[in-house]
């Protein structure tokens, strides 16, 4: 087994999680025009973890050196924004897979997983760190599909990742009903991240500047032998029925009156 980590971190540009999404007029998806977009929060955790693996080795806390961190995003012309953020946080280089902007969250998980398999093979990756889901489609399938396609072990919803030895033994802790479960596997490996894994850093100004000079390559799905075929068709997207608000009463008498009126007293 290789003695250095070559990490792939796929990321996605999604509507900022603090913004309330609204459904577009055509009811085909959510409104994305003029809405603040950011890096998918779970992907932020994956990048942070990859960077920490590198720092841990430097601080002699991890036995394996990180050779390279590759960030990758499939999306429209603004996808490089989140790739720059990823590189400002510490990724070394980035691939932008050019796919058209769409209201339904882009290519399906299987397409992305197949494309990632191509990247893993071409770039000789031995660890893939993915967010457990993107908060736009909430599919939560890509990591698992990728592991299946590659025939690699997978550890999902990681809350702790530890490299145990130079041979590439990795221990991953994740939360299960009523406790935590610790898994051990050998590289190569697919890990998906959960919220408790770490606290992502801020992108510092010097690193934002440096990130501009890091290599960002533009690629297409075809470069990895994949086509954007869809198996699912979105028929209609609608908002859940609005919750009826409660009423306000002036004082105790008002409350009692209201309760009597409703037959509760």
């Amino acid at each position: 087994m290789a003695s250095k980590l070559r990490i792939l971190v796929p990321v996605k540009r999604v509507i900022d999680y603090a913004i309330k999404p609204r459904i577009n007029k055509a009811q085909t998806g959510v409104e994305t025009a003029g809405v603040k977009h950011s890096l998918n929060p779970f992907d932020e955790l994956s990048i942070e973890e990859a960077v920490r693996l590198r720092e841990n080795h430097k601080n002699k806390k991890s036995p394996m050196e990180v050779e390279n961190i590759l960030a990758l995003s499939a999306g429209g012309p603004k996808a490089p924004d989140v790739l720059r953020t990823a590189m400002a946080m510490g990724a070394d280089r980035a691939f932008h897979i050019d796919v058209p902007e769409s209201a339904d969250g882009g290519p399906e998980p299987l397409t992305i997983a197949k494309m990632l398999r191509g990247v893993v093979e071409k770039e000789n990756i031995n660890l893939v760190l993915l967010g457990k889901q993107a908060i736009d489609g909430d599919q939560g399938q890509t990591g698992q599909m990728l592991a299946g396609l590659l025939g690699w072990p997978q550890a999902t919803q990681a809350s702790k990742v530890e490299i145990k030895d130079e041979a590439g033994t990795v221990e991953v802790t994740h939360e299960v009903d009523g406790g935590v479960e610790t898994l051990r596997a050998k590289l190569p490996l697919v890990i998906t991240t959960d919220l408790r894994l770490n606290e992502p850093r801020y992108a510092s100004l010097p690193n934002i500047m440096k990130a501009k000079k890091k290599p960002l390559e533009k690629k297409t799905l075809a470069d990895f032998g994949v086509e954007d075929t869809r198996r699912l068709k979105t028929l209609k997207v609608t908002e859940p029925p609005a919750r009826k608000g409660g009423g306000k009463v002036e004082d105790v008498d008002g409350l009692i009156g209201k309760l009597k009126e409703l037959g509760a007293l």
Binding site: A18, I19, K20, S38, L39, P41, Y202, L205, I208
Partner: protein
Amino acid sequence: MSNARNLSAALRRARVPRPRIHLRPALPYTPLTTAVRSFSVSSTVWADKQIKYTSDAYPNVKRDPNFGELTAKDVAYFKELLGSESAVIDGVTADATDDIEPFNSDWMRKYRGHTKLVLKPGSTEEVSKVLKYCNEKKLAVVPQGGNTGLVGGSVPVFDEIVINTSRMNKIRSFDTASGVLVADAGVILEVADQYLAKRDHLFPLDLGAKGSCHIGGNVSTNAGGLRLLRYGSLHGTVLGLEAVLPDGTIVNSLSTLRKNNTGYDLKQLFIGSEGTIGLVTAVSIICPPRPKAVNVAYFGLESFEQVQQAYLQAKGQLSEILSAFELMDGRSQGLVKESTGNKYPLEGEYPFYCLIETSGSNAEHDMAKLETFLENVMGEGIVADGVLAQDETQFQALWRWREGITEALSHLGGTYKYDVSIPLSDLYLLVEDCKARLTEMGFVGDDESFPVRAVVGYGHMGDSNLHLNVSVRQYNKEVEKAIEPWVYEWIQKRQGSISAEHGLGIAKRDFIGYSQNDTMVKLMKQLKGLYDPNGIMNPYKCI
């Protein structure tokens, strides 16, 4: 972008599958809800230690013997007039100490009155009738909004009746074309801003206490806040007012016009007069369109000279999109860290920090300007380190480092607050001089035997407005004497203002002479005498 500060953040958060509750430490993505940001009035009532009465803390302030004493008959009149039970908290004929306490004391636990009656009128007409009655009976009153003031202006000193505006909380109208909002005085600032957010507009005022403060109180105290740099003071944005004079006269100048040069601009009298002339019942204010792109950067700097250089650069390169330039000293950030337990945004520690916000209409244009600016200040070594918020969560978190200072200080004990305006070059010198003075006098130290915990400075750099805060373990007359009037003399020497945005209240009324000459004070007193001949409006305060 404060639409994200509301519930929608929590709603969106709920889409992420929830981890088990019992395993839940501080999550990096916990949204900052309004409850965390604001000072709620109810939290000021601590059971463990009583707040000292203002009348004991200021023994030279005597109750005006001309004022009437409240009787059961008066209370009966008010109950009859206001009808509903929730409109009167009666401590005259019944024991209502616990219910009245939040209205008697301020959130800093510094001022406490003896009132026995709280009235919550529901309309301007009711306010008019209440004031008319009080004026006839010479009953003194204190207008009170969210009670988030910093100079004790909104709480009674003796037995003044509290007239609270919380039941007047309707938004009356909003015109999308002109951006003019007309709303009752008791509308909470954040509620007004959320209402406007849905209509793509922004309240031109923003401050830390936005979750509690009322817009009527904001206007009466001419609150400045975080975005004055961009949107100007309330003297400019308020287009009209409705107010009630002590004799019950309703002053209706709720104009929605930007231009109106017809005689004296009397509404200005009510802006910043701290309820000493009349009680503001409604406000008409012009609101700017909500910016579509907002960015926040947080810097660490090595010296105050560099802070000034950074400000000059920001003004020059970000000019029309710059919406806030805030200064925080290292000690203030240390206190926020201590009280919140959060990790510093920057790796190293610096003596000064700045927070810059830009608001504009086009994210790409703004980012291009911001990046040029950042490259410049980093390249020239003006800024030692810095971060740029990459998403809404980080945006909120960075603002917390500025807005959380007041709250952090209040967690640690008492604070002597000085809100001053000084020419920019001397802005921070005041903090250094004050610290040196108190240290020399042996007040400052790290353990419990020293009364002073820390001397910190922060503020609105863009408005030359500094908040000098002396954090104390207990309020202590000796410390107070060491600071006052020294600090006022210091400011007077530099032609500064002893109260830039907090007002005078009871805390600074005796010091008005340091920033206003005798003629000005005389004119103010004449106006007060003209509109409030019996002096019932918020007595013992302001002038």
